[in-house]
Symmetry: C2
Subunit: 470 residues, 2 copies
């Protein structure tokens, strides 16, 4: 984060907390420059940024004033999905979303891509290039079945940060988190089985269930504390559920971090009803606060948690380096990895291992946590400014995804189709439900550094929503 | 191939064809040098090579003589597997084989690794290194779901060589041929289904069936012409078979190329019984003869053939670049690809696309076809020399795998375990049968350039087999 961004953040927070009142004049540029020991131009840039965010307005020849503000929109309420096992639908919609991914003319706010343009990634490309140049051939033979030991060792060390004590032998490398989840599920479930999921939950995981003919039962989920323990227990009483898939840390799409007590409560339930937990920690390292939150895996004493993750969100999707810490399911997972895909690309694994070992990963992560946090604040401000009243917005505790709930009657599937023509892509909420609920919601990707163009896009979005609301 | 290898091959063929008789004196070094217009030292090297192969013996001060030879061992007879659907077993044995793969102290003759040390691969490493260095970030974002268009276009062009007319839109890129087969199978089958396979057949495919709870029915297969059409038809009459998996070109493990008429006969059967054909063409480009053999896919008019392949054997396993040409199953395959693993690594795809586009692929292929052909002849000679009488050996028409059948009572699983202690690894035949038949067989990998050390290993192998035969 640059100096002016830092300053702008401080000021934005003060405004947020109500330390300045609407219409109040802000300190002069000179005064602020002295207070914070930064240059005049830094203050000017910070003010410019706040102006772009529409937090302040300039008045010619008299300085900056706090802009008239709408109240902060509330967080959505606990979700209320259909509480019976259903087949997952929505594949056509997901395919449409994926198809737009590589069209450069589209402003893609619907996907889950991270920012891969940061300079802290350079050592990774360098290492990969070096590896290929010097060991071509050698490192392009078959990989070890569980994945490169060098990498598994680094992953085991990283996992200490989330409280899980595992060794390299407890790790199975996969081709991304998606493959991790699919191998984990195939290792535990059969077609026809029922799996409990958060609602809303990541569309990729839902399609995975569909692909393997596994039924999903959506459990009410609170956008601030996660899956409802009570509703999960009721479902477990009622149905022969085999396991539950959770994204407890920096949830996709809701952004919450489950409080530790609730993580433990879910684990206790899983023990009581003897089910598996598929814990998807893909965003866990991108929590706003440091140190990062604990995983359910960290309390797992009988190996029923299959932790799945990848370097997709923290480093880059195209690496396709993910992993499972499969607990008691290790041998079965190894077989299913072999059955489903054989081994993985060794080069990317070795490059990531070196990236971590040499400290570049943690440096990069520190930077991305700050950047995403600051981006999310900007995007949230924009949504508040440009969307009509009567909406709810999540307050993500990490990651880079924002979930917006519009009034019941708004159909985001329709709106998304219209936006398509404007070359703007968002993810309608219905993708995140097995049965296509949440048509009145959307998910926004806020990973990219906010630009004037993005601001204009959010303005267009807001306008489209306003029309749909009328 | 160097000049002396070329000369040695010519001479070896003449000996093979009986143009020289046992004990007969060979032309002098000088005479041969004049006949072939090569240097004295080239002839000396060629003779040295033939001596190593024990085809000729030197007699001090009088020249080289044809060595006393054993008769060429016969090709194994048509296989006779149990002809009812069974669950695939043997996973522990396969795991043992895979575990040895990355142990450098072991002479690994059991796996399917190609030779990745050839200089014709250099442009590939260079391209990959360049790509990463110049486009890091950009090319490490998510791939298109069907795979990189640049690559799919090249694959479609390559496929013209096997007679199949497809476009980039008919191709789905996968993480190797293993993933291709698993996605193809998942797109057509459900657990409990029955799939017909050649017998013996590749252990990886068998374990895939096991992983997805699909039963295998092994069909008698002839080591020279492939699966028995008659036996396949009988099985189709008797059981509700969903599809058949075939490796019709340069079969693993038997090395045959199915005659075109038989390929068409299988297709006709598939049409008659309305089943799918999973055609595994992974070795197809490595046929000894040029142009390469046709695929069943090339006659497929109603899209029932799912052609699966990869650049694993032709280029390098660690690329994990494979593909499916799924015919009528395209949409389902795309969904199953998404469900099973999401997208693939873009970098390796782009590098392979450039490697093909710039002509390096075909150059490399030409070289490898020759090298593997010549390696196979050497290894075959060694087996003939060092193994006891009473064995059968395949005459592969391409690829780099040799299948040896020993007398019924020999247990190669036991022998393999003993060889392990000598740091020699072979693949016992039982891996290639769902029910663990063919314990009296073994598969040898002949991809590596034959060295004196390899000769010694084959000698040890032969000795171990001899003891087991007693
Ligand atoms: C919660 C969640 N799980 C899994 C995945 C898939 O991750 P990968 O790209 O590593 O396969 C994503 C990506 O969007 C995700 O958001
Ligand atoms: C016949 C056959 N099919 C498939 C495979 C798997 O190929 P890949 O390594 O590209 O996944 C192999 C590799 O040994 C093979 O021999």
């Amino acid at each position: 984060m640059t100096r002016y961004q830092h300053l702008a953040n401080i000021l934005a927070q003060r405004i947020e907390q109500g330390l300045y009142r609407h219409g109040e004049k802000l300190p002069s540029v000179r005064a602020l420059s002295q207070e914070h020991g930064v240059s005049i131009s830094t203050v000017q840039q910070a003010y410019q940024m706040l102006e772009n965010l529409q937090l302040i307005t300039p008045q010619p020849r008299s300085g900056y004033f706090i802009a008239p503000r709408k109240a902060q929109p509330p967080v959505p309420a606990m979700s209320r999905p259909a509480q019976r096992p259903v087949e997952v639908t929505q594949w056509d919609q997901v395919l449409t979303l994926l198809d737009a991914r590589n069209d450069k003319s589209i402003t893609a706010l619907g996907g889950g891509s991270p920012d891969v343009t940061q300079p802290t990634l350079k050592p990774l490309w360098k290492e990969m290039s070096r590896l290929v140049q010097h060991n071509g051939g050698d490192i392009f033979n078959y990989d070890e079945l569980p994945g490169r030991r060098e990498l598994r060792e680094q992953i085991a060390r990283l996992m200490l940060d989330n409280g899980a004590v595992v060794t390299a032998d407890d790790i199975v490398v996969t081709s991304g988190c998606h493959a991790a989840l699919s191998i984990a599920l195939l290792s535990v479930c059969k077609p026809g089985d029922i799996i409990a999921v958060e609602s809303p939950s990541f569309y990729g995981t839902m399609q995975l269930l569909r692909g393997f003919d596994i039924k999903a039962i959506e459990i009410p989920t609170d956008p601030q504390t996660g899956i409802s323990i009570e509703a999960l227990e009721m479902a477990l009483e009622q149905w022969p559920i085999k396991g539950v898939i959770l994204v407890p840390n920096c949830n996709n799409p809701l952004g919450f971090i489950m409080p530790d007590a609730r993580k433990r409560a879910v684990l206790a339930l899983a023990q009581r009803y003897d089910i598996a937990i598929f814990e998807d920690d893909i965003y866990g390292e991108l929590a706003n606060d440091y140190p990062r939150p604990r995983t359910i895996k960290s309390w797992d004493i009988d190996g029923r948690v299959l932790l799945c993750s990848s370097f997709t969100k923290t480093v880059a999707p195209g690496l396709r380096v993910g992993w499972i810490a499969p607990g008691r399911y290790h041998d079965r997972v190894l077989h299913m990895k072999y059955a489903a895909s054989g081994t993985n690309v060794p080069t990317t694994q070795l490059a990531v291992a070196a990236f971590i070992r040499e400290g570049h990963y943690h440096r990069h992560l520190r930077r991305m946590r700050q950047i995403y946090h600051s981006n999310m604040e900007t995007w949230t401000c924009w949504v508040r400014e440009y969307f009509p009243c009567g909406i709810c917005v999540t307050r993500p505790q990490g990651g880079f995804l924002l979930w917006v709930e519009l009034p019941e009657h708004v159909d985001m599937v329709c709106v998304a189709r219209q936006l398509c023509r404007l070359k703007i892509q968002v993810a309608p909420g219905s993708l995140f439900s097995a049965s296509g609920k949440y048509r009145n919601c959307l998910r926004l990707n806020c990973a990219l550094p906010p630009t004037e163009q993005h601001r204009a896009v959010v303005e267009q979005l807001g306008e489209a929503v306003r029309i749909a609301m009328e």
